[in-house]
């Protein structure tokens, strides 16, 4: 590759990231109810870029070029209407006619982050269904296409279309405004945003079914948006930092979780030198920021748990007693079976496997979880193996095998069952 090959000048995902920025600025001018109009302007700007750049000449500042095209198109549209009334209420309050100065101001670099934030709050509107919020966020702020979202979330394109349609209808009907909430409302709305970003991150981090590339994109996107929260005065509260640090710690292990055959490598067997130490460093950096103030959120605890794993030189050297305390704390804040099953695993690593098994059987509605959730079976299988009860272990592993769709997980379980059969023969 020659040094100034034109394609080196383009940042990965430039279009996708610019799409989110342009939509944020344009919806602020047009109003959120004109989201589709903004999407058309963005699409036209990209078409123009592709048509002129592909013959080998890229403008010096591609982002600025795209923004300028979007701005010109926006001005055309606004002039045709001459009144803001049909567009953004933010502007129609102040003025009757389109003025270039106003448009210029919205397109200022300093305003773009602000606009993106407003858009995030609109897309993560608590009155929307969570799945609709996820789809709308990925489409609107992250510039993903319907096909890409469907692929990443392992659903049908039609399903995603339906979710986006439903979300847009809701926004129009309820006249959702692009604003950064204030006061007590801010904390609540921000909590929803955190939930959605964490959901997006976990979709990327956990689902072993979708292809690796798109999953990484999802994680990177969730982190990019979370960074946006941390970079803005209105939203850089401790919980935002805690969530970002948690994502950094988790993402640091992204490369070491699967081997070359896409088999899962468990934490205990992972090559810790392969963990991304730059991300771990960043994790600590943000965790530090998150400790300002006296608010403690689940993200703080989860991040502390992730940090505990990162700090241990080897799996055996992990401070499991401390992890157990953290899980107790987490359970107080977020009482859920998932927290309990994780606590049980940690408990067994402190050498109390029988106690861990007993603890699992105290989980509410365990019978139903065992019938539907692969993980509860897999953990029980694991603990019974450790406790020298191979027959029981085999039953749970087989049930787990039956419940998972993931090829990587299936392979892992089959290996475990095979191991048990060998032990039972001996």
């Amino acid at each position: 590759m020659s040094e100034n090959a034109p394609y080196n000048q383009l940042v990965d995902h430039l279009f996708r990231h610019e799409a989110g920025k342009m939509i944020a600025v344009l919806t602020r001018l047009f109003g959120m109810h004109n989201l589709s109009m903004a999407e058309d302007v963005v699409q036209d700007a990209f078409v123009k870029a592709v048509q002129t750049w592909k013959f080998g000449n890229i403008p010096e500042n591609p982002s600025a070029w795209l923004m300028q095209v979007a701005k010109n198109k926006a001005l055309d549209i606004l002039r045709r209407k001459t009144l803001f009334d049909n567009y953004s209420s933010e502007f129609s309050k102040y003025m009757k006619e389109v003025s270039n100065e106003y448009v210029d101001q919205v397109f200022l670099d300093t305003e773009i982050a602000d606009s993106q934030l407003r858009l995030i709050f609109a897309c993560c509107h608590p009155a929307l269904k969570e799945e609709d919020q996820v789809a709308l966020t990925l489409k609107t702020i992250s510039g993903f296409g319907v096909t890409e979202i469907a692929k990443a979330l392992l659903t049908q394109e039609a399903t995603i279309q339906k979710r986006l349609y439903r979300a847009k209808q809701f926004i129009q009907k309820n006249n959702i405004q692009l604003e950064i909430p204030l006061g007590a409302e801010l904390a609540q709305r921000l909590e929803t945003v955190h939930t959605i970003l964490y959901l997006i991150f976990n979709e990327g981090y956990n689902s072993a079914k979708a292809d690796e590339l798109i999953r990484k994109d999802l994680c990177a996107e969730a982190m990019r948006l979370c960074l946006l929260l941390c970079d803005h005065n209105a939203t850089n509260i401790p919980a935002s930092y805690a969530l970002l640090s948690l994502m950094c710690f988790q993402a640091s292990r992204f490369e070491s979780r699967l081997d070359e055959n896409s088999s899962i490598i468990l934490l205990a067997q992972q090559d810790r030198s392969k963990w991304n130490h730059e991300l771990i460093k960043r994790g600590y950096y943000y965790l530090n920021f998150s400790s300002q103030g006296d608010e403690i959120t689940v993200y703080h605890i989860e991040s502390a748990i992730a940090a505990e794993h990162c700090i241990a030189a080897s799996f055996e050297e992990t401070n499991f007693e401390r992890l157990l305390c953290l899980y107790d704390l987490l359970f107080q804040m977020k009482p859920s079976p998932v927290v309990q099953i994780n606590r049980a695993v940690v408990l067994s690593y402190t050498g109390r496997t029988q106690e861990a098994i007993n603890y699992i059987f105290t989980i509410e509605d365990l019978e139903q979880l065992l019938q539907t959730q692969y993980m509860f079976n897999a953990v029980l299988g694991e603990l019974y193996t450790k406790n020298d009860e191979p027959q029981k272990a085999k039953i749970y592993f087989e049930q787990a095998l039956h419940l998972t769709q993931s090829e990587a997980e299936k392979k892992l379980l089959r290996d475990k069952i095979a191991d048990i059969k060998i032990t039972m023969l001996n």
Partner: protein, 112 residues
């Protein structure tokens, strides 16, 4: 070696492509250009502004067009070196827009 002009025609309507797909398409073009440059056979290439105007008639009349809505609009051109027409045609087959309905017209540049 002779010079050949590649004239690229394609659609300009709004495609059903995601931002990433559009960027990928563009990067395929860059990779193609780079390949031609490395072989030292890429002479020039430019995009044409849209829309154009047409001057026509004895008493020249200027009309709009060709319209960007039309299916076949010239988007740009390359000048590429090749030993023969056949070789030029082979090179043109690498055009990334062929699967999307784009066309390449290959013409030898006349030299006296």
């Amino acid at each position: 070696m002779k010079d050949f002009m590649f004239i690229f025609r394609g659609r300009t309507d709004r495609p059903e492509m995601t931002p990433q797909e559009m960027q990928n398409n563009m990067q395929q073009w860059f990779a193609w250009i780079d390949k031609l440059k490395k072989k030292n056979i890429y002479v020039a290439g430019e995009a044409l502004m849209q829309p154009g105007k047409v001057v026509k008639g004895e008493q020249p009349v200027i009309t709009d067009g060709p319209f960007t809505e039309s299916k076949e609009i010239v988007g740009g051109f390359f000048v590429v070196k090749a030993n023969s027409f056949e070789e030029a045609l082979e090179l043109a087959k690498d055009c990334p827009d062929l699967p999307r309905g784009g066309t390449v017209e290959v013409r030898e540049v006349m030299k006296f």
